[in-house]
Subunit: 199 residues, 2 copies
């Protein structure tokens, strides 16, 4: 089965549109998706990129663009969502722990649903804790586990791997060595996985 | 007939994909397009944006992304094209002069074809001069006319108008007050012009 690696960071706005639909899209096209949480902020700081922070005009377009496109995917976000997150390291270390243990996708979707539909940040408070519960995990114990050195190192390694693949933003898709950046390139990534080219 | 205002700057890379197909797309959907050249660099400098200059990783994705998508539109660019331009003011002042006089679209397409398919910069030399000739204009006289105070002021006014509409990048589309940014939003702009919403 053809394969899409889905690189994302909890904290990225456009990733909402991808996270809520990629598994359905992949299933419709007979593709396999591997979810790869990483810390996009580390890479952006290294490259001197910050697409929306301190850029109100560009950010206004981003929110309006998401609002216009969400109904296409059956989504009803309440926008703008609170932004930016204080911390990308914790929620993405938790997501990665969850991927290793089988509950990461459910946690990620729950966190984005709360963030974009209920206005709860995914890196703290009820947004984080209720999303862990929804994924079947005890909040306190899981947060404590994710703050140990090993999960932090695992996230740093995965982030380095993303950077080595040329990933510089979230969401990104890697298909047979080809990098596609942006929710709006999911259809291209799917086509590449099926045909090895766009048409 | 529903209307799309197409804001662009000669000098923008992704605008190649739009410039070479927007009139055909609009015709297929029964829409009217008004081409609006402006100086995106002035706005980007004001906002502290520079999407690709000094960002080799993001620029590499941009060129690859254009290369992958071009065949979809029947285009065969030779990439990467020389980038960035030294001067955005002159070619866009010329394009705007041409819009006022009826040869601006032909000049813009000719300049992009030379830039992206023959590797000739559109702000100088043969890239500029032969594109003017192709649009039926005498190169020396037209360049001299475009360097007068009036065309420079006209471009500054049009650039201010773009900024007042929230335009921060090229290509952008404005449909009934809605701003769409990026070649990859042309389909959204077309749908909005027809239906007043996306689906």
């Amino acid at each position: 089965m053809a394969q899409i690696d889905f690189w994302y960071s909890i904290g990225s706005t456009y990733s909402y549109l991808t996270i809520m639909r990629i598994d359905r899209v992949a299933q419709d096209h007979g593709l396999d998706v591997t979810w790869k949480p990483f810390d996009v902020r580390t890479i952006m700081m290294e490259y001197g990129n910050s697409p929306f922070i301190g850029k109100p005009v560009k950010a206004a377009h981003m929110w309006r663009d998401i609002a216009r496109r969400a109904p296409r995917y059956g989504l009803s976000p309440s926008l703008p969502a609170p932004y930016p997150l204080n911390d990308l390291a914790l929620p993405n270390a938790i997501a990665l722990l969850g991927m290793d243990e089988g509950w990461g996708v459910e946690f990620t979707r729950a966190a984005y649903r709360r963030w974009f539909e209920e206005g709860l940040l995914p890196d703290e408070g009820a947004g984080l804790r209720d999303s862990l519960r929804e994924a079947g995990q005890a909040p306190d114990a899981t947060i404590e586990r994710a703050q140990q050195p090993e999960p932090a190192k695992r996230l740093a390694d995965q982030t380095r791997q993303a950077r080595d693949l040329g990933v510089f933003g979230s969401p990104s898709f890697v298909v047979a060595g080809e990098l596609f950046w942006g929710d709006d390139r999911l259809a291209d990534a799917v086509q590449w996985a099926r045909d090895g080219r766009l048409s």
